[in-house]
């Protein structure tokens, strides 16, 4: 079908216009601003400071902590979500009655806006009346009277728990889609050859579903690195749960009118961007290798 290419440029134009103005331009501006010191407070002058903001990142105790918290959160939640997601996918892949209902139920955590489910969980983790608090007490994870969302350490685990709750079913559905593409005959042939279920899993299922898992893993990791909603709502970043995005927003917005922090905040934004990009590139590269 020979169609003149020029029409295409017309059709692409609105999209490119919007993303240029609202995505690319702000990104470049953030990079640019990171070399300055300025704020929105009247009387504060905009000064060029070169790499000063970046040098300050390491001197900033709060930034280093946010980085540590973010990495911890990412590694732990993504690992748990992937493993649990795979298990759940394998279970739901089996044929059983009411499978449709379970599969539908698995969409519920994803359908509930994070802001809302975070409040629901905050209620369930309420230090006096929360049902999860009671449960953790019964199991023995905590001593009675411990405010889960008020303790450094515990609070982060509660947040990880909430994230795992929301994302595991979603991961499971994605992996399930990958499982369902695997043709039955391969399994049949393997059974005939005498392979048991464990062998079938490791030799057939796992290799064939790995690309799907890998893609899901990329997106989950990138999402986890920029986590904001659940942390902000459950603890506002207090008791050592502050992640990079939460701290970044604090520096930009809460200090916008009290000092000259906008440039420094932009530097943090650039750091986060680079971090995400590096991970994205690593993953995409390794994905390409696998597919080849």
């Amino acid at each position: 079908m020979k169609i003149k290419g020029s029409a295409a440029y017309w059709m692409i134009f609105p999209t490119l216009l919007i993303i240029s103005i609202v995505a690319f331009f702000p990104l470049f501006k953030t990079f640019y601003d990171s070399f300055f010191s300025f704020g929105l407070r009247p009387g504060i002058e905009r000064k060029f400071v070169g790499l000063e903001n970046y040098k300050n990142l390491l001197r900033d105790v709060r930034f280093v902590n946010a980085l540590k918290n973010t990495i911890f959160f990412t590694v732990v939640s993504v690992s748990i979500e992937t493993v649990l997601g795979l298990i759940v996918a394998l279970i739901v892949h089996q044929k059983f009655t009411l499978r449709g209902i379970v599969r539908a139920a698995m969409l519920v955590p994803w359908a509930i806006p994070t802001a809302i489910s975070s409040q629901m969980w905050r209620w369930m983790f309420h230090d006096q009346f929360g049902i999860m608090t009671r449960l953790w007490e019964r199991i023995g994870i905590i001593t009675p009277g411990t405010p889960i969302l008020g303790r450094p350490g515990l609070a982060m685990w509660a947040i990880i728990f909430v994230d795992v709750w929301k994302t595991t079913p979603f991961m499971a559905l994605l992996i399930l889609a990958g499982l369902q593409v695997i043709p039955e005959d391969i399994y049949e042939a393997a059974k005939i050859d005498g392979a048991n279920s464990i062998q079938r899993f490791f030799k057939i299922t796992l290799p064939l579903v790995t690309p799907t898992i890998a893609v899901a893993l990329i997106f989950r990791t990138l999402d986890a690195l920029r986590v904001f909603d659940v942390v902000y709502i459950m603890t506002r970043g207090a008791v050592n749960t502050e992640t990079l995005a939460v701290y970044n927003r604090h520096v930009l917005m809460d200090r916008a009118f009290t000092g000259a922090w906008f440039g420094y905040g932009s530097a943090i934004s650039v750091f986060i961007f680079m971090l995400i990009m590096i991970f994205a590139i690593i993953y995409i590269r390794s994905l390409k290798l696998r597919l080849d």
Binding site: L40, R41, P42, G43, N56, R59, D60, V61, R62, D254, R255, A256, F257, T258, G259
Partner: protein, 410 residues
């Protein structure tokens, strides 16, 4: 008829042209709002061409603060007159009308020195003190008498000695204060810090909290709990009301709290009614005593029009005048910022307790005046609380505070 109509029209036009409408923010709770409305009626009689509309504010100071930030960020022209917490002066200074040249107009030399300090930012006056508050020492005068103490403790060491003796003999707590991780903890901490001769930042804005006096002050607080054992470990969850409840039940010898507690402690169903005395907080080793200043000021929006600002000045002068401060003290129990009012016989009659507070207020100091005070407070809260719960030593805590404040206040 036509002439009359025209005359009326012209007069109305003149009246409308000359009348000004200004808006003012105020707390929306009970007595405070009621008293304000009465005062505004009196104001209207003095200045019939100025109309004042009250905008009730959320109860919580944090919410008011955030609302103000939204207004100023957008350059809103309303409200014209703003009720400002004593700790917000530095933060909102660029958005408030400079009133330095009106020092005499507002008769500021009549005001308590601490309150004037709280509205002075970089040498400029940005608001006028409206009513004030300060931390003070409550004590059981009946118990002190019982054990032979004629006067309340003059120094912290005396307080420790009295508290130990009486609390052990009576089987009650020695001393309660506010040790939870919130703004109130900073108020308490600063009182120890200042009385031990320490300071957070100096006049030039340099961080000077890294001092031996600061460590001693914090250590003293820690010792109250773990060494002298006159303060319960639970104090690290106490805010104002928690401490008051303990003291009101008769379960403590001493309490540090704000003046508001007095009325409650002497209500008819209070077990300690009539048994309570008040005194300024004790002297530290440096021979200095200090109380943390609380209270509210009135500022004028920089974005308002010239006429609105003029009207606003008149309103503020009225509300902070001697008569109005006396009225407010008598009717809503809020402490005047003018020294002379404390000697007024009508005040002595209606609220004798308040008269005794003058000695407290004269020594009251404002918290550090920086634009990002709330972050500064948060840093202090974090580490002081950590020291009080023994997650770190007093020395480590002070060092950490200094390091983070140095970064924050670059």
């Amino acid at each position: 008829m036509k002439k009359l109509a025209t005359l009326l029209l012209v007069l109305t036009a003149i009246a409308v042209g000359f009348s000004v409408k200004i808006t003012m923010t105020s707390g929306g709770v009970g007595k405070e709002l009621e008293v304000l409305r009465e005062q505004l009626k009196m104001f209207k009689q003095l200045y019939p061409d100025i109309e004042v509309e009250v905008i009730p504010m959320p109860d919580s100071a944090t919410e008011r603060h955030d609302l103000y930030v939204t207004y100023f960020a957008a350059g809103e022209k309303d409200p014209d007159v703003l009720m400002l917490d004593v700790i917000w002066s530095a933060e909102f200074a660029p958005f408030l009308e400079d009133l330095t040249d009106d020092y005499d107009y507002f008769e500021l030399k009549e005001f308590l020195p601490g309150t004037i300090m709280s509205v002075t930012v970089n040498g400029r006056i940005v608001a006028i003190p409206w009513f004030t508050d300060a931390g003070l020492l409550y004590y059981r005068k009946d118990l002190l008498e019982k054990y032979g103490y004629k006067n309340p403790p003059r120094t912290w060491d005396e307080l420790v000695e009295m508290a130990k003796k009486i609390s052990q003999a009576e089987g009650i707590i020695g001393f309660v204060w506010q040790g939870a991780r919130y703004e109130g903890l900073v108020c308490d901490f600063l009182e120890y810090l200042w009385s031990f001769g320490g300071e957070v930042i100096d006049e030039k804005g340099k961080v000077v909290i890294d001092s031996s006096q600061a460590v001693q002050a914090l250590q003293f607080m820690v010792d109250l709990i773990y060494k002298h054992k006159i303060t319960p470990e639970g104090v690290v969850t106490y805010m104002e009301e928690d401490a008051r409840r303990v003291f009101q039940k008769g379960e403590a010898v001493f309490m540090r709290n704000w003046p508001y507690a007095w009325a409650l402690l002497n209500s008819d169903d209070s077990p300690v009614k009539g048994k309570v005395g008040v005194a300024p907080l004790p002297l530290g080793p440096g021979g200095r005593r200090a109380a943390t200043l609380g209270g509210w000021n009135l500022g004028i929006n920089k974005f308002s029009s010239k006429e609105e600002k003029e009207a606003a000045k008149k309103l503020i002068k009225f509300l902070t005048s001697y008569e109005q401060q006396l009225y407010k003290a008598i009717h809503s129990g809020q402490n005047p910022t003018r020294k002379a009012v404390y000697n007024d016989p009508k005040l002595k009659e209606a609220a004798p307790f308040m008269v005794e507070l003058l000695s407290v207020f004269v020594n009251a100091l404002p918290r550090p005046r920086t634009a990002n005070y709330s972050e500064l407070s948060d840093v202090i809260q974090k580490y002081v609380h950590a020291a009080l719960t023994r997650q770190m030593t007093a020395e480590q805590a002070i060092k950490n505070i200094a390091r983070e404040l140095n970064f924050l206040l670059k």
